[in-house]
Each structure stands twice: as C-alpha cells, then as structure tokens.
Amino acid sequence: MMSATQNHGGSRSEARLLSAILVLAICLTLAPVLRLFVEGVTDQGSPSLGLMRDVLAQPSTLSALKHSLVTAGFGTLVSLVLGSAFAFLVALTDLRAKAALVFCLMIPMMIPPQITALSWTQIMGPSSVLLKTLGIAPPLGAKQPLYSPEGIIFLLGIQHMSIIFLTLRAGLRAIPQDVVEAARISGARGLRTWWQVVMPLTLPSLAAGTAITFVTALGNFGIPAMLGIPAGYATLPTLVYQKLAGMGTTVLAEVSVLAMLIGAVAVAGILVQRLFQSRQKLHLVGSTSRPLALPLGAARLPVEICLWAVVFAILVLPMFGLLATSLVPAYGVSLRLDTVTLASWYEVMFRQPVTSRAFTNSFGLAAGASVALMAICLPLAWLMERRQTRLARLFDSLLDLPYALPGVVLSIAMILLLIKLPFTEATLYGTIWIIFLAYIARFFAVMFRPVQASLKQFDPAMDEAAQSVGASLYRRLRDVIFPLSAPAAAAGAILVFLTAFNELTVSALLWSSGTETLGVVIFNLDDSGETGMASALAMTIVLVVVVLMALIQLFSRRFPKGVVPWQT
C-alpha cells in the first residue's frame, strides 16, 4: 500500500476494496497452481523428489512426452505456415473483403478441438458419409488416415493457425506505415520491402505467436484424445486422462507429476513468448493510423481465390461432413434423398436425458462464470489501474497463468485443492462446483484483459470529476465506471461464455455422472460409437459459436480498441 499513496491520494476505501478483491482473485486463480507445485515436491507431507523421479523414469511418461513435443512442435509449424501466409497477405496487401476473411479465420479457434477432430474424421476414412455419398470413399477396412500422429499434427496446425494469424497481424499493424513508404521511396520493391523492412520488424511478434501456439498445442486435449486414443498414441494430456479415468484418484500424486511436467514445458514457452513480446514494444513509434495496402496488381484475384479455397477446405468442408453424418439414420449409410432424417438431431436434443442435462450444466456454468467474473474483474481492473501496488503488479503478471497453462494441469491442481476442503471432511470433487471454480480460474484472463484494455483508455478525469462533485467510491463505480466499461465487459462476458460453453479439457477430468458438460458429452458419444448424435450435437454448438461471434462482431464498433480479440 505504500506505493499506492504515492500515485493517488484520497480515499482509503479504494485501498481497502482493492486488497479485498485482490486476495479473492489470487485465491481463485493462483492458489490451485501453487497447490500443484507443492504436491509435486512433497511425498506424504515431507519435501521429497522421489515420486517425481519414479514417474519421470517410466517409459510411458517418456514416450508421451516425446509424442507431445512432436505433435505440438510440428503442429505449430503447420500453424506458422498457414497463419503467417494469411497474416502477411491480409495485413499488407490490398485484398478485398478482409473483414470477412478475418472473421472466417477466427472460427477454427473458437470451435472446440473435439468438434474439429470429429468433423475432420467425418470427411475422411472408409465410413465417411460425405465420401460415400459422393462415391469416393476408400474401401471398407481401410485405415482412418487421421488416427495417426500426422493427423494430430495436421489438425493441431489448423486449430491454432488463428493464434499465429492474430499475433502476427497485430505486429504488422503496429509497423508505422511511413517505414514501408520510406523503403519504397528509396526504391525498394515488393518482396524486397517485405524481406528487408517488414520481416525484421515482425520477427518478435512472430516468435511470440509461435511460442504461445506451441504452449496451446501442447495443452490441447480434444484432438489427441479423439485421434490419438484410437491409434494408441498417447500425449501427456491424454496419458493423464487415461490414468485418472482408469484408476481414479488413487493415482493423483502420480498424475500431478505428469501435470507439472506439462506445466514446466508450458511455462518455458510462456517465458519465451513474454521475452519476445517485450522486445516488440521497443520500436513502436510513428503513425499507424492508415493500414498498409501494397497493391498486388494482376495477382490479386488468383491470391484471393486461393485464400478462400483454403478457408473453404478447413472450415466449410468439415462442417459438410458433420452435417452429412448427422442427417443419416445410421453411421455408414450414404446420404440420399430417401435416407435423410432428423432422427439423430431429435434424439440428441430431446430424448437423451444426458444431453439436456449437459446443456443445462454447460449453460449454467458458462453463464455463471461470465457473471461472476464480470463482478470480480470490473472493480478489480479499475482499482488496479488507479492504484498500482506491488501486489497488484505481481498479480497482473501472473494472472494469465491459469489460462495459458494446459487445461489438464489446471484440472489436476483443482482436484488437489478441493478434494478435501481445509479444516473439514467435505469435498467438492465430483460436484459441479469444482468445474465452476476451475472455469473461474481458467477464464479469469479472458474476462480481465478486455476490461483492462478498455479501462486503460479511460480518461481518469472522468472519475476525478465525479470525485470532485462528491461521489463516493460506490457511486462512482455504479454511475460512471461501470456504464462506461460495460461494452468491454459485455464482450469479455460473451467470450468467456463462448469458451466455457464448449470447454472439454478441464471438465474431462472433473466431471462425474450428473455434472457432464457439452464437451464431455460429445466426446463420450463419439467414444461409444454414436457418431450421428455426436455430429448433430456438434453442429448445434458450432451454430451457437458462430451466432455469438457474429453478435460480438456486430457490436464491435462500439467496443474500445483491443477489446475484441480478433480486432487488435
């Protein structure tokens, strides 16, 4: 609090409220991570690295680690090629319909990975309804080509290309256009400008994007679970899942070591990303008001056709696959006018008790997490902006951790923290509350960052004006700060809802009978061979995602800069 009074005098109530909310936020977000760390370095209560040594020596651990690094590494490479090609073309050239292109490129990131995997398996392999309908399906008994490391790599690459695209595009937009214009005036042309001026300036953001893509791919559970488990190819997250699902909480100590292993690799990636991000900030001087638009000339139309063809292949085609599968009476039947039926849709939406329960659970969890996070993040972001205490700054630098760390890590941490509540015999494990608290921890940054971005652009005089006419802290929050940051908070809330509604990785380890989420249900339906119903449910979720994204897009003009993640 000492440094607080240096910045702003006046009301002590701000300092008290900040401390209170900050403690709450730290308990919610950082306590689980800390708990996991403690578990890894102790054995039955005393400091020991014995267990860690044992687990790390197991051959299954080593092979899963190798598989994780291989799939995440090559997957990142695929993302890098696709994402940067799109980013350079969209950010630097005079392509038409950029907004639509950007929106379409964002959809893969927002569609949950298990649905991506499901949809792609529907357009490949011998039993693909779409291929059968078109008469080009491979013969029965042929292998599903996606059930392989290459399949995992390919889909991880598609799933996360948006991350590279976004960070690189943001980096490109930060390049002052006069820098490029100066190069052109000096006589540098086309590719030379790109190679000698643009590339060196974007390397930091490209490196930062690559690092964070690697971390995200490493933590991905849906794709390696749907593709790798049938192929007997385990990555670290699926190994944790299989152990915990097979043997329950008796292997908790063992899987926490695995979780720490994933966490350690992820933290290394995050540190690399931070390093490059801080470097990038150095040369952001000059005007960036007009976006760059280097003319492509005669190449424009072919390039446009090419880009939209890629979008069609990675976005529309798999959706056709899903749709086709959801419309046939039984998996493997080809889709014709006389076979088309809505039975799967009807069954999954109205008949199955588990799906309606999952809808209720996911909706309640997502909505609850949005509201709770809004209530915590709005005042917290405001107070942290106003009074930069040391603790607040520390929290600011760590609050991304639960979101950046792989979901499996957070789930294990949550189980450790809540399986036996301190001072009681009660447990939250197996109840819906453990999922709720895990969502709060995981999506804290998703809510907090947009609100923070909007409040950073907020003129402090707005608050001071209210203060000078006598408004108390509570009145200022209610009458001035909340109304003005409401658009950002709404965008954050929709994003939290969107991500939480589809979430699988965290709930896969935390669900039990009665607390299934939609992600879990799709995974289980597909696992038990109900591919038609899984596809129908997946289609509904894709529709919800696209509608919510369109909603944000529709209001994006009203949000301050930096609030909508795909409009940096």
Binding site: G9, G10, D459, M462, V469, G470, L484
Partner: protein, 349 residues
Amino acid sequence: MADIDLSSVGKTFAGTPALQDITTRFDDGEFIALLGPSGCGKTTLLRILAGFEEPTEGRIRIGSREMANADSGANLPPEQRNIGFVFQSYALWPHMSVRRNVSYPLEIRGLSRAEIRRHTDAALASTGLEDYADRMPSDLSGGQRQRVALARCLVSDPCAVLLDEPLANLDVALRATMQGVFTDFHKRTGATMVYVTHDQAEAMAMADRIAVMDQGRIQQFDTPQNLYERPKNRFVAEFVGRGTVVPVQQFRTDGTAQQARILGAEVAVQSAQQESRVSHVCLRPENLTITETGDLRSKVARVTYMGGKYLLETVTDCGARLFAETRARFDVGAQLGLTITTPWAFSED
C-alpha cells in the same frame, strides 16, 4: 466561499521533488492564476488542493477546514472537500445527457427532485446552455462542453473552483470568448478561483493575482501589472512579457535617485525600496527608444511585423540581444542607436 491557506506544502514523486515549500494564501473571492512552464509543479499544486494527490509535506486549509496535513497523515478525500474542478479534457460523462451531467452533483447530495431541477436550470441558464440540456456531450462543440463542465462545478455551490488549463484544447477565437465567460462567472459568483495555465496572456487577462512558478517553487506572487513592471528575479523577468535581462556594471544611489551603468551607458533605474544593491536590469521594448544619437549602437538582426508596428531584434556592439518596437520599418543589417529609459532593476544571486 472560502480562502485557501497553504503552509510549507511539498510533494515528492519517487524521490524527485515536484513542489517545494509552498507557503501562501489565496484570499476569499480572489481569481488566482498559477503560471509557469510545463513541469513547474502548477498542476501538481492544483491536484493537491483538490485532494487527488496527497502532499508529502505541509498543511492545507480551505475556509475553516483543514484539508490535508502531512505531519498527521490526515487527508480529506476529494469527494468530501466540496470543491469544483474543471478539467482540461472537460471530463464530461459521455453516457449522461448535458442535464444529467450538471445535475449529478445534486443527486449525490440527495436533494429533492424539484430542488435538483431548479438548481440545474439555473446553472444551465447562467452558462447559456438551456437549449442543449437534452443533448449528449458528444453532440457539443468544444466551447459548449467547457460550459457544461463549468455549469457542473458551479451547481453544487463549491467553496472554491479549481481550473486545470481549461482553454488549452480550444481554438484562439473561442479562447477569448471563454475568457469572458470565466471572468463573468467569477464576478457573478464571487467564488475563489485557482486557474492553472501556461499562457501568460490568459493569466494576465483574467487573474487578480498570478503565482509564477518554476521548479516546484513560487517565484513571485503578485498582480499582473507588478509582475510585468517590477519582476523580482531573472526567471520572472524573462518568463513574463518580452524582455532581456542584462547585468548592471555599476550602481549608485543618490537619495531617491538610482543610477546604473548598463552596457556601457549611464542610465537612471528603478528598483524596489528595500534593494540596497542591484545586479541586473530587465530591458523591455518600452524601455528602449530608437534615436539617431542613441548612445547604444546596435544592428538589426531580425524584423517581425506585429500588425501596426515592428518588433526588432537587435544586437549591440557588445553582443547583447535587445528587443525594440517601432512603427517605422528597418531592414535587417541596419545600424541604429538605442536609448534606455528607467528600466527595472533587481538583485539576483
């Protein structure tokens, strides 16, 4: 309405002093300007008066209430000070209409609906905003927004009004109009006003007294006329008005008459009564006359047309740069003679 009393107020930002030992008094109903170059501490002083910053040393009293005391650590938060504040950015709440912006202070004070309406109408009328009451701030021009900010701070009858460069964002023509608005407002309400500006013409035009600040200290606190004609030191002499400070080579007092040797010429000077010795004089254009026989030979280095007259920047034979005004046109490079008449002399260490 109330007077403002500051005693040895100081403020340090992370070890760097922004304000040092400010002891002064603003009388009830006075229009005070805080004038100085950017970074001189004038805005910090204003924000300490408002309560947005806490002084690290000294005490502040407004009216009968002690607002801040660094020794006891007491600091009344801004919302309890009953002070009006006008911001450079206007700080109108963009989600509230003009009427709601103005009535909000009364809402907070829990007045009845009829009371709020009456006071708000009066405040809107006195700033000429009746027709804009239902507009949103974004629909207003800069000058109108500033009026709303003024109406908002006067509606709650504050004991002092603090203004932080309120005209800095307006164009030149509007500035002159708004200066009139502020002066009228001050005359009508008799409020104690503290006005921060870096524009001396603005300060001169409106203020009863001006505190010229530099490096966190008040260099001179006086009427506009005294600041111009009787500067206390080199900083004030050079900062206020156009003038050149030159050293005095010899100084003699002979009863009431004071003689000094300046740039080789023997000249009668004026100084404050208590100065027994002076070291510099301030040569303003009024102190210099161009004559054929002038004993100070100099060469015209630059000519600026000022509308109706010319400002000449001349260089004397001994290298001093002096400013003179003339109605006749001179060419660059022309030789002329200058005569110095009774400049103001002061002592500077």
